[in-house]
Amino acid sequence: MFNDKLRVCWRLFRKDLVIEARRGELLAMIVIATIGLSVILSYGAWLAGLSENQRILLAPALSLSVLLITALSVIGKFSEYDEQSGALEGLLMADVPSEALYLSRVAAIWVITFVAALVASLILPTLLGLPQVAALFTVSGIACVAGISLGLASTGALLASVTARVRVGGIFLLTLVLPLIIPLFFAGCEVLSGQESGHDFWWTVIWGLDAIYLAAGLWLHPYVLVNRTALPL
């Protein structure tokens, strides 16, 4: 029974990745968001004459911005695929359990966002002229990025289904997601910027919020899915 659901989850998750891969938008998004933002922002950092230390402190915020933008685009893309020709309705009509839909979507967003953030962390330091490329590649750095992506994924997957059918869709999503994830970002900046004091507190914030968001998503998701209105005819 439980095993069955897990298999459904896996198939849904794979489907998301296959569509992304076939469209090729995922890769492009990551590369572009990363390179574009990094180039402009690091040029700005040079212009502002930031010291190396300051640049190191700024790097986490920059890679988290890349993470935010990638995540929001990926979430938007996914719900676009779902809406197109009623694919999501088709799954619901075929009695695919809604928890499976939610969890697989969280997983897909999580993986993609996480990969994007890792790529960004690889490119950014080079462009910022920081030789310590490995700065963000500590165990705690990776854990932190994973934690933040998870929070984004669990809120994003829930709210994307809310906003997909609302007329002014996109704007809602953002307005709803931003307040929920800003605390995560602040915590992430603190942890990644490597100041030792108070780390435990910030770790608690990250994983605590993740747990809350995921639980809330699992609980609220059926309501959101069931109350969708008509497709275009």
């Binding site: 020709s85 009623g86 009509m93 695919v96 109350n227 005819l233």
Partner: protein, 213 residues
């Protein structure tokens, strides 16, 4: 009016006094009929009268209506097939779409795919590269794969050529003979086909539709 189909089993899906309005305009009012196991019903009506909307309501996709649409039990599976909307991911092939909802292609759903309606090459081609008739068939095969108790066919025969049209109807009759209830929406007269009931949906209210020609 309450139209009942011939067989005497309890209805798989019973509509009572269903009224639908979109954007404040009434489409139709107080529609009641039953879909009983082993029956094949034809639903007709002029363009824009609300046939598609009614079928969506019956499938649970459209939720803003008055009246009741009651399935026999909560385990009744209702499949909606529409030539306008495939209910599948357009970037994936039919095979890939079915692989999401059924366990594995080698087992149950292979019955539906390895059939005479769609060639192997087309089953593996992304839906958005299929021709309109092929898409319609794909949507039909998707519905078959979920083993429906009630199958609602919204104009799926209109993009099909003579041969395919006959094959799809024959296939549907096979389902019906196994106890499924089928409802077909079509603008063709289909005089040669035998249906257990022929319903016509009529516009109510004041919204001006098409002027008469």
């Amino acid at each position: 009016m309450r139209e009942s189909t011939a067989k005497n089993d309890p209805p798989l899906l019973a509509l009572t006094d269903v009224s639908v309005s979109v954007n404040g305009n009434k489409l139709f009012e107080n529609v009641s009929f039953d879909l009983r196991p082993g029956t094949f019903t034809l639903l007709q009506g002029s363009n824009g009268v609300g046939k598609t909307t009614l079928l969506r309501a019956m499938a649970g996709v459209h939720r803003s209506f008055r009246g009741t649409i009651a399935p026999l039990s909560s385990s009744i599976r209702i499949a909606l097939v529409s030539s306008a909307c495939s209910f599948m991911y357009e970037d994936l092939s039919l095979r890939e779409n079915l692989a999401i909802i059924t366990d594995s292609l080698s087992s149950s759903s292979s019955i539906s795919i390895d059939n005479d309606l769609l060639s192997h090459a087309l089953v593996a081609q992304p839906l958005n590269t299929l021709s309109s008739g092929e898409r319609s068939i794909a949507a039909f095969l998707r519905a078959l794969a979920v083993n429906p108790d009630v199958i609602l066919l919204d104009e799926i025969t209109s993009p099909l050529d003579e041969a395919r049209r006959g094959a799809v109807l024959a296939r549907t009759r096979m389902l019906v003979s196994k106890g499924c209830a089928a409802l077909l929406v079509s603008h063709d007269t289909l005089d040669n086909e035998k249906f257990d009931a022929r319903l016509t949906l009529q516009r109510s209210g004041t919204k001006e539709g098409f002027a008469s020609v």
